[in-house]
């Protein structure tokens, strides 16, 4: 499957544009701040319903406009599918598939898996646990429909529970315990699934790091829950209920839920040392790349179709050997979209790509790329 065309209206700096893509390699060239990343962002929205820049929906609507839209055509073996995402100010966005309005935005998840490589990936290593949990959740959500229900209900329960804790009502105990139950039930399901996926990611990430460095460094990704891990959901749920009971006083004092997978982390270890603390800048960057490559491998394995690869301005940061490695990796996978300032960043790959020149919200094809691919 690939995205054969994309139409944007009132999206970021695009008033209105339509573009046809190459089924394999697409390069977007241009100076900074012309709208290259916006195209990748739009594609990512079609994949996951949101931005990878952690932007609110409203920020993606063109300045001074009330609404914006992203429309993509997916080319599959069975035929075409049109996906439209309408962004509206102060309202929820609307998803249409083949012109039919969908009840749930989440029905989009997994249809068009995608992995983004961006300079911000470094924060996966250097930043706080929230970013690593997000990385893990986004990976699982694209592969596993069952995760979504637990994920949404956990988030909802957590919000309700925190809201109750903040209200500082006397004798709140009887009201609090009724939220413990769903928190522990869905929390346990999240932990088990995350730990399972982290183990698989660890294998892929270890291999990716070896591929990148050609070296002997041992990279390990571990799900690090605050509660001791159990093998089955039932006993983990029990453990979580106990922990909640024990944390009652602290939670009441602080007005926030302190037990649960919303506080867990994904540990990154190189040769037995935490990468975040002991890695050099270069090692951390390589670690982040390996994590993204692992996500790509896992989604390739776990989804029905090869994920889109969105490569935002990272080529220039890589040395020649790694560039070659990536381009080779891209050619084995699904459709890829790369941004950069000049064709020189892409070595020989630019021969096999469709190339676009992006300037001030206008996009122009300058090379069609190989046909019949």
């Amino acid at each position: 499957m690939h995205v054969s065309s994309l139409r944007l209206s009132h999206f970021r700096n695009y008033q209105s544009m339509e573009v046809g893509f190459h089924p394999q390699l697409n390069l977007f060239l241009g100076s900074n701040a012309q709208g290259k990343t916006n195209i990748l962002e739009a594609l990512y929205c079609l994949s996951t319903t949101r931005s990878f820049r952690a932007a609110a929906d409203e920020e993606m609507i063109q300045f001074n406009q009330e609404a914006g839209a992203i429309e993509g055509v997916l080319q599959q073996e069975e035929g075409q599918e049109q996906i439209q995402l309408e962004l509206r100010k102060e309202k929820n966005k609307v998803l249409l598939v083949n012109g039919k309005k969908q009840k749930k935005l989440s029905s989009l998840l997994g249809r068009l898996p995608a992995v983004v490589f961006s300079p911000d990936d470094l924060f996966l290593v250097k930043g706080g646990p929230a970013l690593r949990r997000r990385y893990l959740d986004v990976t699982i959500l694209q592969m596993d429909q069952g995760y979504l229900g637990h994920f949404q209900q956990y988030e909802r329960t957590l919000k309700q529970r925190n809201s109750l804790l903040r209200q500082k009502i006397p004798n709140v105990e009887a009201q609090l315990v009724i939220w413990d139950e769903p928190l522990a039930e869905h929390g346990a399901a999240l932990i088990i699934k995350r730990a399972e996926v982290a183990r698989r990611l660890s294998e892929f990430a270890g291999q990716a790091l070896k591929d990148l460095t050609g070296g002997a460094e041992n990279f390990e990704v571990r799900y690090e829950p605050q509660l001791p891990l159990e093998n089955n959901e039932g006993s983990l749920k029990e453990r979580m209920l106990q922990a909640l009971a024990q944390a009652r006083r602290e939670e009441l004092a602080r007005g926030v839920t302190v037990v649960g997978p919303h506080r867990d982390d994904l540990g990154l270890w190189v040769n037995g040392k935490p990468l975040r603390k002991f890695g050099s800048q270069g090692q951390q960057r390589t670690g982040a790349l390996a994590l993204k490559l692992a996500q790509l491998s896992l989604l390739t394995e776990g989804c029905h179709t090869a994920p889109l690869v969105l490569f935002d301005d990272v080529m220039a940061e890589l040395d020649e050997k790694r560039q070659a490695f990536f381009l080779n990796r891209l050619q084995q996978g699904g459709q890829a979209f790369l941004t950069g300032t000049s064709a020189n960043d892409f070595l020989a790959a630019s021969k096999n790509a469709r190339i676009f020149w992006v300037e001030a919200g206008q996009i122009k094809m300058t090379q069609e790329g190989p046909v019949g691919a």
Binding site: Q160, Q175, V177, I178, P182
Partner: protein
Amino acid sequence: MAEYPPSLERLLHELEKLPGIGPRTAQRLAFHLLKQPMETSRALSSALVDARAKLHPCQDCYNLTEETLCRICTMSTRDKTSILVVEDPSDVVAFERTHEYHGLFHVLGGTLSPLEGRGPQDLTLDALVARVKKNSNLKEIIVATDPTVEGDSTALYIQQLLKGVRIKVTRLARGMPSGGDVEYADESTLLKALEGRREI
């Protein structure tokens, strides 16, 4: 954009406050009403004011009624040994349509939801407990709140409230909808359906 005359502006504003009605639907409704004879608008507004003035919660079950007690609570043929607890009066209508439930109802007026500032005192929970204690024939409380996080938690709260009372508290089964397709059911629905399976 052309400005509306003040009275039309006001009408649109009021319509837009209703659930499920955005600016476009409000506009469509307003222009439709304005095309009709005056009598249509008069009938609508008097029906609205009349309903609002006459309807109030039933003293026992909090379903909507024009009397002190609702029709269901006064019917001698109803089975007084069970109470079915629902969120809203519209849920009562849904169960009545089945013609299979012959017991009494209790309308909570929503679910517990700290986010929306709704605590136990905002629901008719005290009244439910009082009813249960007063009615010695009662055998079963069926909790039929929605299968959402809030509905489930409210059910749990009710179960706790009634812990001291020797009465059966049950929760509506959840699982596959009739006419549904096993292949397309999501995992949690299938799981619940499996848990609640019955011998045939």
